[in-house]
Symmetry: C2
Subunit: 290 residues, 2 copies
């Protein structure tokens, strides 16, 4: 398996489906659709939907991604809306995102807020639209469970909660517990949502689902710590509260390794499954230079 | 039936359930919960959840509201989030809402944005949490359909779309068609979501659901026109594009009556159903003075 080729193939599939969803027949609202597309197609790595697809593939008996796609898209939409809102002047006040102007710098604050709202809403519309066959109880069961997981991980007990803590605690001292909770919710929650969604829709059993939940958690933690380390080298003057600023370089470097090792340990528990792709992806993510 | 007593009874039930949902065990995020509660409990009339409950009651064989409550709450949460975001400085820039300071005047813009996001997300969490009994296909079918209806009516093809048009078209001339579409989406969509949700969860048949959809549409249109008429008398200087400013007083007064008559006509199609409450509520809403 050539992992780079495989990643490109996944991204193409995701982008194609996002385009399809955003090019439906909407009335009178071209400007907000432009704004949404601007942020959705601004060079994201699509880590979360890829994780959902590849977690699905571990357990599913078929090789097409149609079943997981609505959930993969929903998670990417939620991720994108959170970036648009985070960048707003009253939040992080970022003028740039991925080297391009942030949404509100191009479309204005009002449309940026509404674009975020629209994307969050569209995520759940997409999930509900996935219920096509109204006759299969097991199909329902999996989709309902997945909707539950995603909505919890994106909400006040998940990503939004983490964002609130992040915003409030800027430059303030907090306890280790709260910082860990912030990392668990702010970043790891949506990554867990991806790995768990893939497992459930793919037909994993309870134990396997919990393994994928832990894998997502450990991967999410190491992903965010790596992010902090990269950000820090980028701008020495940032005074934001991070894992790095709180625990120091040494512990951050060590925990990056601890968390990613634990992530891989979870994958290895899945006997008889082809975990190669997810193992390699974990390595790529924690060794990335941008 | 004493309608005032009945309305109070409904509001108490709604508030009790909203409190229950917002007093769950959340970690480290008391401030955003305060902010959310501030806006949720700021004297709203609870029209939408009441419509959901009473539409449910028309069709349901039992008299308790437990089945419809998650959907009624979800719609009220969506309504509340939309008010918080609408009031923001970059949107309508309103310092007051229902005679109290608007959310961002009390909690700041960042928390107001996140509170809105949190409420929208919580609406869908609440819907997914309603799937308790995983064994009943008909129960699933109704809840899935209702989730689909609510998510569509609150999204880009519904309320958010209407809000975008409203924001863009301020003080500008637009075609009749677009103005009607804006009214249909901005206000009538969520009211339709309420009446349709009640019908579906209550077990209405297809024809009855479509009748309740039309009832919601006509009621929503007349409700918003009445709102414009009341707003106009309140502040003669407002230059916002409304039904009133676009079509003039005479046609607005006439259409208020036309739409509300049509709403009542729809209700009368429901043979053998006790439509008294919804008939009276329609009259109360279009004759209200505040």
């Amino acid at each position: 398996m050539n992992i780079d080729k495989e990643l490109i193939k996944c991204v193409e599939k995701i982008d194609l489906n996002l385009e399809k969803r955003l090019n439906e027949n909407y009335k009178y609202i071209n400007e907000i659709l432009d704004s949404i597309k601007y942020s959705v197609f601004t060079g994201g790595k699509r880590i979360r939907p890829i994780l959902a697809m590849k977690s699905y593939e571990l357990f599913s008996e078929n090789n097409n991604y149609d079943n997981i796609m609505p959930f993969a898209l929903a998670i990417e939409m939620i991720h994108t809306y959170s970036l648009i809102h985070d960048d707003l002047p009253s939040m992080d006040n970022d003028d740039y995102r991925r080297g391009k102007l942030s949404n509100h710098k191009v479309y204005g604050e009002a449309l940026a807020i509404l674009s975020g709202d629209g994307l969050l809403n569209l995520a759940f519309e997409t999930i509900f639209d996935s219920f096509k066959d109204l006759g299969d109880l097991e199909d329902h069961r999996r989709k309902i469970l997945t909707g539950k997981e995603i909505s919890r991980y994106s909400g006040l007990k998940g990503m939004i909660g983490g964002q609130v803590i992040d915003m409030n605690q800027d430059k303030k001292e907090i306890e280790d517990d709260e910082l860990l909770y912030m990392y668990k919710t702010k970043t790891a929650a949506l990554i867990k949502a991806a790995t768990v969604s893939g497992a459930i829709i793919g037909g994993a059993n309870k134990e396997e689902i919990e393994t994928m939940r832990k894998f997502g958690y450990y991967l999410g933690m190491s992903y965010q710590i790596k992010d902090d380390i990269l950000d820090k080298s980028e701008d020495e003057n940032i005074e934001k509260l991070t894992y790095l600023s709180h625990f120091g370089v040494k512990k951050s470097d060590r925990d990056l390794k601890v968390f990613s090792d634990k992530a891989k340990l979870e994958l290895r528990k899945l006997k008889g499954k082809d975990i190669n792709f997810l193992m390699s992806l974990t390595d790529i993510l924690i060794n990335r230079e941008v």
